[in-house]
């Protein structure tokens, strides 16, 4: 098994997943490639139903029962307890082994809604200790001490008293901190955050994002961030994968995606979000809605909503074209024979403006 580079921790290769539903087979993931390097943050951005959560749930063995993995590999590199380096394919691993060696211990997940991901009948302290007692050979006192440390690490005040509280006694922001503490309980290498701040207010969101970054710096974590909020992405990500209809359509560093986007879908996403300076009469919107993956899209899945679509988009799916060493986009517009098309004027103005802004407010 081969990984792209020595620093790669997690690599998803050509992942393809479909779901059996009463309406038919939904081909939700259609060949996804994602690479996560040590200590970096990779964001996966897309609309609901684009498959961003599903591809990460596959990595931790949490797929629903009606899912079939048609093909692909999810390679994960870790240092074993005896100090040797191992690379495993998480998709081939038996579920039991996955639960005992990977979940929580090496790859941890933070879910969207802290009210549903915490057990309402267990105290906070017990929930944080649960994973520690399961994965590490320590006694209860040691686990309790560790739990206390963790709660303090994630910025919960009066941690000792909070250990005995139940989830409903905490505010939304505090609950999400507890969920993060649980995720960090066994010193994982990889943290997968699935829309961790979507259910929270902006002020609380800002604090949670700060917290995740702080913990990441301190513990050297690699983070995968799933979100639909481009503002959040700008704040946390090093690399971005833009996902549409079960495919990655553009990938690049955060600066490449925000200041030099190439895929029309990325243009649309960036332009559709008003920033605090937008004063145009109308927002640029992407017409229509995402395709229903019950019916396999022919050609480029985005063609129907794409004002820049070419004739070939109806017939063949575009491959990933290389823009720079780190920047790829799947659109026929990048083919050497394609007509030269520029991004929408509004977006161009805004990017120039954003550039100025970044300089000014330094």
């Amino acid at each position: 098994m081969d990984m792209r580079s020595d620093r790669t921790v997690l690599q998803i290769i050509d992942l393809d997943i479909s779901f059996k539903t009463s309406a038919g087979v939904v081909h939700a993931i259609r060949g996804v490639n994602v690479e996560l390097r040590k200590g970096e943050t990779v964001a996966i951005v897309g609309e609901s139903g684009s498959g961003k959560s599903v591809s990460m749930k596959a990595a931790v063995g949490l797929l629903a029962g009606n899912a079939t993995i048609n093909s692909g590999q999810i390679l994960y590199r870790y240092v074993d307890d005896d100090g040797s380096e191992e690379i495993v394919d998480l998709l081939q691993m038996p579920k039991r082994q996955m639960r005992s060696t990977i979940n929580g211990r090496r790859i941890a997940m933070v879910f969207q809604n802290p009210m549903t991901s915490l057990d309402p009948t267990m105290t906070i302290g017990k929930q944080v200790m649960e994973g520690i007692l399961l994965h590490r050979k320590v006694d209860k006192q040691a686990a309790a001490r560790r739990a206390l440390e963790l709660l303090e690490l994630v910025g919960i005040t009066h941690a000792e008293a909070r250990m005995r509280s139940y989830p409903h006694q905490l505010s939304g922001g505090m609950r999400q901190r507890v969920v993060i503490a649980i995720a960090l309980a066994c010193d994982p290498d990889v943290l997968i955050c699935d829309e961790p701040t979507t259910a929270l207010d902006v002020t609380i969101q800002a604090r949670i994002l700060e917290l995740i970054r702080e913990v990441q710096d301190r513990l050297g974590l690699s983070v995968i961030f799933i979100t639909h909020d481009l503002g959040v992405v700008a704040k946390v990500a090093d690399h971005i994968n833009v996902m549409y209809a079960g495919k990655i359509v553009e990938v690049g560093t955060v600066d490449e995606i925000f200041y030099d986007p190439r895929h029309p879908y990325t243009w649309g996403l960036l332009a559709a979000m008003p920033d605090l300076d937008t004063s145009d009469a109308r927002l640029v919107s992407i017409p229509g809605s995402p395709p229903n993956l019950l019916h396999e899209p022919k050609g480029d899945a985005f063609a129907a909503r794409n004002p820049y679509a070419l004739a070939i988009d109806e017939k063949a799916e575009p491959p990933m074209f290389q823009v720079s060493e780190t920047h790829y986009a799947a659109t026929w517009l990048l083919h050497p024979d394609a007509p030269k098309v520029e991004m929408p004027a509004e977006l161009k103005v805004r990017i120039a403006h954003a550039f100025e802004d970044a300089k000014e407010r330094r």
Binding site: V232, A234, L269, P274, A354, A358
Partner: protein
């Protein structure tokens, strides 16, 4: 300026939870909405923004204060005539289009219900034409009238919600987080639609949301709400260019912007009204400049504007 369409003065809404505890959701809030404008109400969850909307449209009975809509008091007991006016001229769009549309009714019945209740048509054909025309106005087609809500996507469902509000030709629409549950690309479509409708019909919006960039984009004037108090009001430009209240500042600093070079360096400003010793109950509304007002004591105002 012309007469305000809606005039809210010292609106208070308390909920008695138990004998010893009363939730004070809204405390003495005052603002005006003029015909054809959009007033944005922002604040964190639990700040009382939804409660204000619901008290105005009388889904709750206000504890005290006055709400005057089109020159008529609507906060107390309503007579038949006033209630008819209120139910006709003020409409609401809800946050979650799935739970606010009756799953057992076809779209035509959902949208046409207001017409039925107020007997605003002479023949069945007239009603159907009205519903069909409205469906097309909100970007759906006439054939959608015979479908059920679950057969639509999220964005389409919200369009049905908008059509239902529009059928009565209202003067004021209360839009309570009506785009929060939608995807970014769909949000832009719905906001554009709301703007088009405003231009065409001249209705006013009370736009309740927590997404500040969207509120700034759509609103003429904005009110910032915190813990049931309206801490700052003004035009969108006044508030965003020159926020005075520390809560507003903290809120603005927390909005993530799609500009990585800038965003990566930015740190949110923290605000804790207890730690700063700010007691909203003792403050009064002070004018900063023009229509820009802030809730403060003389001391605080001097400190914040210094």
């Amino acid at each position: 300026m012309s007469q305000p369409l809606l005039r809210v003065r010292d609106l208070t809404q308390h909920f008695r939870v138990s004998r010893t505890f009363t939730a004070k959701a809204v405390n003495g809030v005052s603002f005006d909405i003029y015909p054809g404008e959009t007033f944005g109400l922002v604040g964190e969850s639990g700040s009382g923004k939804t409660t204000i909307g619901r008290s105005i449209i009388r889904l709750y009975d206000p504890t005290s204060g006055s709400v005057v809509f089109q020159g008529r008091e609507i906060s107390g007991k309503l007579d038949r005539d006033t209630e008819g006016m209120l139910r006709r001229d003020m409409q609401m769009i809800f946050q979650d289009p799935m739970s606010s549309l009756n799953p057992r009714k076809k779209v035509a019945s959902i949208i046409g219900e207001g017409l039925d209740i107020h007997r605003r048509y002479r023949s069945k054909a007239e009603r159907d034409t009205a519903v069909g025309a409205l469906l097309e106005k909100v970007g759906l087609s006439k054939s959608h009238a015979s479908l059920y809500p679950h057969q639509f996507s999220g964005g389409q469902r919200q369009r049905v919600g908008i059509a239902r509000a529009l059928i009565m030709d209202p003067k004021l629409i209360i839009a309570d987080e009506c785009i929060s549950a939608l995807d970014v690309s769909i949000q832009a479509q719905v906001v554009n639609l709301m703007k088009d409708i405003q231009e065409e019909t001249g209705c006013a919006y009370l736009f309740i949301a927590h997404d500040l960039s969207m509120v700034k984009y759509i609103s003429d004037r904005i009110g910032v709400l915190h813990m049931g108090y309206l801490v700052e009001t003004g035009t969108a430009d006044e508030i965003f260019a020159n926020p005075v209240h520390p809560y507003t500042k903290s809120l603005l600093s927390a909005v993530p912007l799609p500009n990585p070079k800038f965003e990566k360096r930015r740190r949110p400003v923290a605000y804790d009204c207890k730690a700063e010793g700010v007691d909203y109950a003792v403050g009064h509304e002070r004018t900063v400049a023009g229509t820009h007002k802030v809730l403060a004591t003389d001391d605080e105002l001097a400190r914040w504007t210094a």
